[in-house]
Symmetry: C2
Subunit: 211 residues, 2 copies
């Protein structure tokens, strides 16, 4: 294993570095440094170099990094040099917004189907993506080799949906429902928790006042 326990925080930062490098590329910048990247993403240059060092040597001492090269390397590390098929379960407000979110396509994610239980929604399309009944999830995943599922249903149904996704062979789940769900080992799970994020803010606001 050439992988000595890489912090998750490092992976998150690599993703942010990559986005920043893409910005530089678009501006026509060809060369950069750990200092410039750090400034662009709000970190330290030592941390940028450390994060990159887990995966190899991408720069030139005394010179810095080639923007395009480095970005391609990070994209490769993150697994984004291929396109990923994604299904979204829940075609409510949030599910619909996510389905139509342009940022996913730019970063190599293709939403190929949305699923709902509401018969009035089924059959219509969102930005060219069809809404199917939940009963079709398994076929869709198996026939297309879908590896990522997004859960955007109310909390009460989230575990049930997770179970369907797992049974269908999904590899990873991004959960937006405000509830803790459990999946077997081997299935990756991340939670995007909208209220938790706001609550960290309110805690911090109150702390400031109290100081």
């Amino acid at each position: 294993m050439r992988n000595p326990k890489i912090p998750e925080a490092t992976i998150i930062r690599l993703s942010v570095y990559s986005r920043f490098l893409t910005q530089l590329e678009n501006k026509g910048v060809t060369n950069t440094s750990s200092g410039q990247i750090a400034e662009g993403v709000g970190g330290s240059s030592a941390q940028v170099r450390k994060d990159l060092a887990y995966f190899g040597e991408f720069g030139t001492r005394g010179v810095g990094y080639n923007v395009k090269d480095l970005n391609q390397n990070i994209i490769k590390i993150l697994g984004l040099s291929k396109r990923w098929k994604v299904v979204i379960v829940g075609a409510g407000n949030l599910g619909s917004a996510l389905t139509q979110y342009k940022g996913f396509k730019e970063r190599s994610f293709d939403v190929i189907g949305v699923f709902d239980i509401d018969p009035t929604r089924i059959g219509s399309t969102l930005n060219g993506v069809s809404i199917y009944p939940v009963s079709k999830i398994e076929d869709m995943i198996k026939e297309n080799g879908v590896e990522i599922g997004i859960i955007a249903v109310p909390a009460d149904f989230a575990q049930e949906v997770a179970d369907i996704l797992v049974k269908s062979g999904i590899k990873a789940i991004l959960n937006f429902a405000p509830v803790v769900i459990s999946v077997p080992r081997g299935v990756e799970l991340r939670n995007v928790d909208l209220t938790v994020n706001l609550e960290v803010l309110t805690y911090n606001i109150e702390m400031q006042k109290g100081e």
Copy 2:
């Protein structure tokens, strides 16, 4: 300062504990233990006790915790015993979904206005919340003492919107735009990064394959 550097991870977990305790309350459960909470949220009992210990003694040795009491204490810690006014900037798909998101109200957040630059959107309402022109942000924040702003505009406009919010006296910002924005010290900032979350998943999927 009776606040010896509390890890942000602790605050995030407290928010999740609180949600779990609310579930228990709704089921009519009156008493619980650090072990039960840990099981419910996928952590360890030692960590639950440690997290709570930063703020006081909420349990009884040999007995456990009173569900309602503990939840109220955590809610107080997080600053949620009052209601918070929130404005959302951006009435596109994501901003609209967030405006109509029911989970916020349940956790003491009231969205009192949405702002956009698109004249065709301005004047209509989303779930009873009016869409105003961006030029009205400052008045709205100042007149209502709004403390939290949510950014749901494209990346290119995010910094500009952040500047407006800051200038209007906002205390905290939740940023959904996929770009690093900067705010002065004293303004809290958190980022909810949709693509970064997917990219951590793809990295992990690829890692598993490689092992």
